[in-house]
C-alpha cells in the first residue's frame, strides 16, 4: 500500500509536536511517497532504489527535527564492504520545464523574391533552451559577420597581414572575407564619418554601402562610427540606399537618437541592433522603447549587450548575456531576442597583441601571432555558450576555429568516431 504524506504531517508520523521542536518550520508541502519504504532507510539508500532517496531525505528531515533516526530501523550506518559486482543503475535527468518562451527568429538579408538582392539570407534565434542543450533542438546555427572598414585603421599585426591588399577598398575587402575566409555576412563600419576622424558625409558614406552591396551577395551589417551625434544621419542615409535589403543597422542605443534609426529601419525594411552596455535593465528599457515607442516589429530587433574581451570584463559580458538569455527563455518578452557580439573587441586585450609581457614576473607569453587569434576565439566561444547568435569578427583563423566548435556543438560536424578508451597511454 502506498501512503502519501506531506511534510506538514510529519509530526503525526512520528507522534510528536513539530512546532515545539527547535522552532524549525518547514514551509511548503512536499509529498513523500512511503510506498516501498522499508524499515531501514539507510540500507535502502545504499542499495540504490528509486524510493530510497526519498527515504533518505525523510530521515534527514527527521534528524533535523531531533529524532534519533539512526535507531529507527535498528541498524547502524553501513560498514565499508567489498562488493563482487557493480550495483545496477540507470541514470536519468529531466528537461528544464521553465524554458517555455522561445527566442524570437530574425532574418537578415532579403533575396529578390523578398525585395532585396541578396543571394542568401541568415536566420538567427528561435532557440528554446540554452545553446547546444538537449532540452530542445537549436533551430539555427551561429553565424559570423566579418569586419570591413571604410578607411585604413590601426590593427594588430596578426590581423593586418590578412588585409594589406584590400585595405583601401571596402568592396574588395568585403569580397575577400566572403570568398577566402568563409564569412556568412559582412559588416561595413563607416568609421570615417566621425567628425573627429574624416567627417565623411552621410551621402558619401552611403556610396560605400552601395559598393559593398554590389561586391557581395550575403546579408550585410551597416555600422556607424560610434559618434552619437553623427550616427543617426549616417545610418539613415545608408538605410535609404540599401532599401529592402534587410541590413542590420548598428546601432540604436540609449545615448543617441534611437528613434531616427528605428524609423529608418521601418521605412526601408531593415533590422535594428539594440546596443546597451553590460546592463540587463538598460537592455530591457531600450528594447521596450524600440517596440512600444518606435513601433519596431519584434522580428526586426537584435541585441548587442556588449562584448568585453577575455581578461577585460568578459565575466560581466558572459553573465549579462546568460542572464538575458535565461530571462528570455523563462518568459521575459522584452529580452527574448537573438544576440550579437563585437567579438573583435578581444583584440583590445594586451595579451592579444603585445610582443611580450610588460611584467618581468610573468612567464614567457610566447609568440603573439598565436595569442591574438585564440583570444578572439575564446572570447567568442565563451559568449556562444551564454547564448550569443551572431559574431562580428576580424581574424580569419579565429573565424575558422569558432565556426568549427560552434557547428560541432550545434551538431553539424560529422567525423569518424574516435576511441578514447586508452588515452592514458597514448603517445603524444
Amino acid at each position: 500500500m502506498t501512503k502519501k504524506i506531506k511534510l506538514s504531517e510529519l509530526g503525526s508520523l512520528f507522534g510528536g509536536d513539530i512546532e515545539a521542536l527547535e522552532g524549525v518550520k518547514i514551509e511548503g508541502d512536499v509529498e513523500i511517497d512511503l510506498g516501498q519504504l522499508g524499515l531501514n532507510p539507510q540500507m535502502a539508500y545504499a542499495l540504490g532504489h528509486e524510493t530510497a532517496q526519498m527515504a533518505f531525505h525523510l530521515m534527514n528531515i527527521s534528524r533535523i527535527l531531533g529524532y534519533p533516526v539512526d535507531q529507527i530501523g535498528g541498524a547502524a550506518a553501513p560498514q565499508p564492504k567489498k562488493l563482487s559486482k557493480l550495483i545496477e543503475s540507470k541514470f536519468s535527468v529531466g528537461k528544464i520545464e521553465e524554458w517555455k518562451t522561445p527566442i524570437q527568429e530574425v532574418v537578415l538579408g532579403a533575396t529578390s523574391s523578398d525585395g532585396g538582392s541578396r543571394k542568401s539570407t541568415v536566420t538567427l534565434g528561435g532557440e528554446g533552451s540554452l545553446p547546444y542543450y538537449f532540452d530542445s533542438p537549436m533551430p539555427h546555427r551561429n553565424h559570423i559577420t566579418m569586419d570591413v572598414f571604410d578607411m585604413p585603421i590601426n590593427m594588430a599585426k596578426a590581423v593586418k597581414s590578412n588585409y594589406e591588399d584590400v585595405i583601401n577598398s571596402p568592396a574588395e575587402w568585403a569580397k575577400k572575407v566572403v570568398r577566402d575566409f568563409g564569412a556568412d555576412m559582412v559588416t561595413i563600419h563607416l568609421i570615417s564619418t566621425d567628425p573627429n576622424i574624416k567627417d565623411t558625409s552621410p551621402a558619401d558614406a552611403a556610396k560605400t554601402v552601395e559598393e559593398v552591396l554590389q561586391a557581395v551577395d550575403v546579408p550585410i551589417v551597416i555600422g556607424g562610427s560610434g559618434n552619437p551625434e553623427k550616427d543617426p544621419a549616417v545610418l539613415e542615409k545608408a538605410a535609404e540606399v540599401a532599401e529592402g535589403e534587410r541590413c542590420l543597422l548598428a546601432s540604436a542605443s540609449l545615448n543617441l537618437d534611437y528613434a531616427r534609426i528605428a524609423e529608418a529601419a521601418k521605412k526601408y525594411n531593415h533590422v535594428v541592433l539594440s546596443w546597451t552596455q553590460l546592463e540587463i535593465n538598460a537592455q530591457k528599457e531600450l528594447n521596450r522603447k524600440l517596440m512600444k515607442q518606435c513601433g519596431v516589429a519584434r522580428e526586426n530587433i537584435l541585441m548587442d549587450p556588449t562584448t568585453a574581451a577575455l581578461g577585460y570584463g568578459l565575466d560581466y559580458a558572459y553573465t549579462n548575456m546568460e542572464r538575458i538569455r535565461l530571462a528570455g527563455l523563462t518568459g521575459d518578452t522584452e529580452l527574448n531576442f537573438p544576440m550579437s557580439s563585437g567579438t573583435t573587441n578581444a583584440w583590445g586585450a594586451r595579451e592579444a597583441w603585445m610582443v611580450s609581457s610588460p611584467l618581468k614576473e610573468d612567464s614567457d607569453w610566447g609568440p603573439r601571432e598565436y595569442r591574438g587569434p585564440i583570444w578572439e576565439i575564446i572570447t567568442g566561444l565563451t559568449l556562444s555558450l551564454a547564448g550569443n547568435d551572431l559574431f562580428m569578427m576580424m581574424h580569419p583563423g579565429a573565424v575558422h576555429v569558432l565556426k568549427e566548435i560552434t557547428q560541432t556543438l550545434y551538431g553539424l560536424k560529422e567525423t569518424e568516431p574516435v576511441n578514447i578508451d586508452n588515452w592514458v597511454s597514448a603517445v603524444i
Binding site: 564492504k81 540507470k90 528544464i96 542543450y133 558572459y318 612567464s363 560541432t408 597514448a426
Partner: protein, 469 residues
C-alpha cells in the same frame, strides 16, 4: 546546500552573540554561512562538545550539492567540486577548475624535469594576483609498473603540486601509490573492468579516485558501488571526445550530470566532473592546431561544469587563455569591481613625479598600477569615479569627463601647485579627446599618455619630464 535563509541557520547556532567569529551577532554569521563567505569552523563555541549534535547537523545541511574533495597535501593541495548553483550569477562558482598538465613515464629524465618545472613555475599577473596552474598528471605509457613508479618519484621530488596517477592497470597504480602514499594523489581511473582492484587501492591508500565510463548508467553504477564500499571522494569522467557528434554528446553529458546533481539533488552522481581536453591530440598532430583545439575544449568545459581537467599543451598561447577564462568564470560576481576613487601614491612620488589619470574600474586601475610599480615609476595615480567603467567606454558613455577629473582632485584635496613642480596632468591615450576640456576646466597642462599602460615606461623616456614651455 539544503538551507536558504540565515534564519534557518541561526536556529542551529549558539545564539550568544559572542562575536568570536568576527561578526557582531550570530545572525550576521548565519548570513555569511548562507553566502558561503565564512565556514562553520569559524565559530569556536559550536565546536565545543555541548553543541556537537547541532554542529554535525548544520554541517550536513550546509554541505554543497556537489561533493567537495581535496587532492594533494600541504599548501598546494586543491579542493574541487563544491558547487551549489548552475549559473554563476545565482551565487558564485566555488573551487575553480583544477588544471593538471601531463607528463609520461617514457620521457627522458631531463625533459621530465624541465616539463614539471614549467608547469610548477607558470604564472601570469592579473588584478593584484598571479594566475597559476594546479597539478601534474603522470601517465603510464610504458605499461611498466617500475618505470611508472620511477617517474612518479622524480616528479614528486621536484614539485609540491598535487599529482594525478594515470593508468588503467591497478598494478601500475599501486606501484605509483607506494611512492606518494602520504601525498593524497588522485588516481585515474576505475572502469567497468578494473573497478574491483582499483576500489581496493582507493580504500587501502585512502585516496580520491576517478571513475571513467562513457555510459552514464555505468558511471552511476560505479559511483553507487564505490559509495557503498565507503569510498566518498569520487570524480566522474564521462569521457571527453575531441570532435564531431561524439563531442556534442560529451557536452550534453556534462550538462546532464551537473543538472542532476544540483537541480535534481541526485546525490548518487553529485561529484566533481573531469574533462580531458588532452584528447584533442588524438585527432590533431600539428602542435599549433592541437593546442588551439585543446584550448577550445578546455574552454567549453571550464564554462560548462568541468571541475578538473587534464591538459597537454604548455604553449603560452594555450595556457594564457585557459587560466584567464577560468578566472572569468570563477570570479565572484558579488565582489565589487571598483576601487575607491581618489589620488594614490605609487612608489615614493616627489614634486617632479607625473600625475597620471585612470578610472576606478578595478581591472583598469590594477593593470595601470602594476605596470607603474613593476617598472618602478614613482607617481600619483588618480582613480576617477566612472562607476567602475573602463577608460574607452567611460569616455564614450560620458562617465569620464573634464568635470569628473577636476572634481576627483578637489575631493582628494590634491593641490597641483603644492604637490607638483610642473602643474601637469597625464590623461590615458584612450581619453585624448578630453584634452581641451580638461585644460579649460583645470587650467593644468594636459599631456596624453599611451593608449595602453604597458607602454608608459617607453612614453616616460620620451616625454618626461615635460619640456618647459
Amino acid at each position: 546546500m539544503k538551507l536558504n535563509s540565515p534564519l534557518q541557520v541561526y536556529k542551529f547556532l549558539p545564539q550568544i552573540n559572542c562575536a568570536e567569529c568576527g561578526d557582531a551577532t550570530c545572525m550576521a554569521f548565519a548570513a555569511h554561512l548562507i553566502d558561503r563567505s565564512k565556514k562553520l569552523e569559524d565559530c569556536p563555541p559550536i565546536l565545543k562538545d555541548e553543541y556537537k549534535k547541532k554542529y554535525l547537523e548544520l554541517q550536513t545541511l550546509l554541505a554543497p550539492e556537489i561533493r567537495e574533495i581535496i587532492i594533494g597535501k600541504g599548501e598546494r593541495a586543491r579542493k574541487i567540486g563544491g558547487d551549489d548553483v548552475l549559473y554563476r550569477h545565482q551565487l558564485t562558482f566555488f573551487d575553480p577548475t583544477a588544471f593538471a598538465y601531463d607528463v609520461w613515464d617514457t620521457m627522458p629524465e631531463n625533459e621530465l624535469v624541465e616539463r614539471v618545472n614549467k608547469i610548477s613555475n607558470f604564472r601570469k599577473f592579473y588584478v593584484g594576483k598571479f594566475l597559476t596552474v594546479d597539478m601534474v598528471a603522470v601517465r603510464c605509457v610504458s605499461g611498466d609498473a617500475a618505470k611508472f613508479a620511477g617517474a612518479v618519484k622524480k616528479v614528486s621530488e621536484i614539485t609540491k603540486l598535487p599529482l594525478i596517477l594515470c593508468s588503467l592497470d591497478p598494478a601500475v597504480l599501486k606501484s605509483g601509490l607506494e611512492v606518494v602514499k602520504d601525498k593524497n594523489p588522485l588516481i585515474y581511473a576505475a572502469t567497468e573492468k578494473n573497478w574491483g582492484e582499483v576500489s581496493e587501492l582507493a580504500l587501502n591508500y585512502k585516496v580520491p579516485v576517478v571513475l571513467f565510463s562513457q555510459d552514464l548508467d555505468k558511471l552511476k553504477s560505479l559511483a553507487l558501488t564505490f559509495r557503498e564500499m565507503g569510498i566518498k571522494d569520487l570524480v566522474l569522467d564521462p569521457g571527453t571526445y575531441p570532435q564531431g557528434k561524439q563531442l556534442k554528446e560529451t557536452f550534453e553529458k556534462f550538462i546532464k550530470l551537473r543538472r542532476a546533481g544540483i537541480k535534481e539533488a541526485q546525490k548518487d552522481i553529485a561529484y566533481p566532473i573531469m574533462a580531458v581536453p588532452l584528447n584533442a591530440w588524438a585527432v590533431y598532430k600539428d602542435a599549433v592546431t592541437a593546442s588551439y583545439w585543446e584550448t577550445v575544449l578546455a574552454s567549453v568545459f571550464t564554462v560548462r561544469y568541468g571541475d578538473i581537467m587534464i591538459l597537454h599543451s604548455l604553449e603560452p598561447y594555450a595556457m594564457l587563455p585557459e587560466v584567464h577564462l577560468r578566472d572569468t568564470i570563477y570570479t565572484d560576481p558579488r565582489t565589487p569591481v571598483k576601487v575607491a576613487p581618489g589620488v594614490n601614491e605609487v612608489g615614493t612620488p616627489t614634486k617632479d613625479s607625473p600625475v597620471i589619470v585612470t578610472t576606478n574600474f578595478a581591472l583598469t586601475y590594477y593593470t595601470v598600477e602594476s605596470d607603474l610599480s613593476s617598472n618602478k615609476i614613482n607617481c600619483y595615480l588618480a582613480a576617477v569615479d566612472t562607476d567602475g567603467i573602463g577608460v574607452e567606454a567611460s569616455v564614450a558613455g560620458g562617465q569620464l569627463t573634464a568635470a569628473k577629473i577636476k572634481d576627483n582632485f578637489q575631493k582628494a584635496g590634491f593641490d597641483f601647485k603644492e604637490k607638483t613642480s610642473h602643474n601637469t596632468i597625464v590623461l590615458p591615450g584612450l581619453a585624448a579627446r578630453l584634452q581641451g576640456d580638461v585644460e579649460d576646466a583645470t587650467g593644468l597642462r594636459v599631456m596624453i599618455g599611451p593608449p595602453d599602460s604597458g607602454r608608459i615606461p617607453g612614453w616616460m623616456e620620451k616625454n618626461w619630464p615635460p619640456k618647459p614651455k
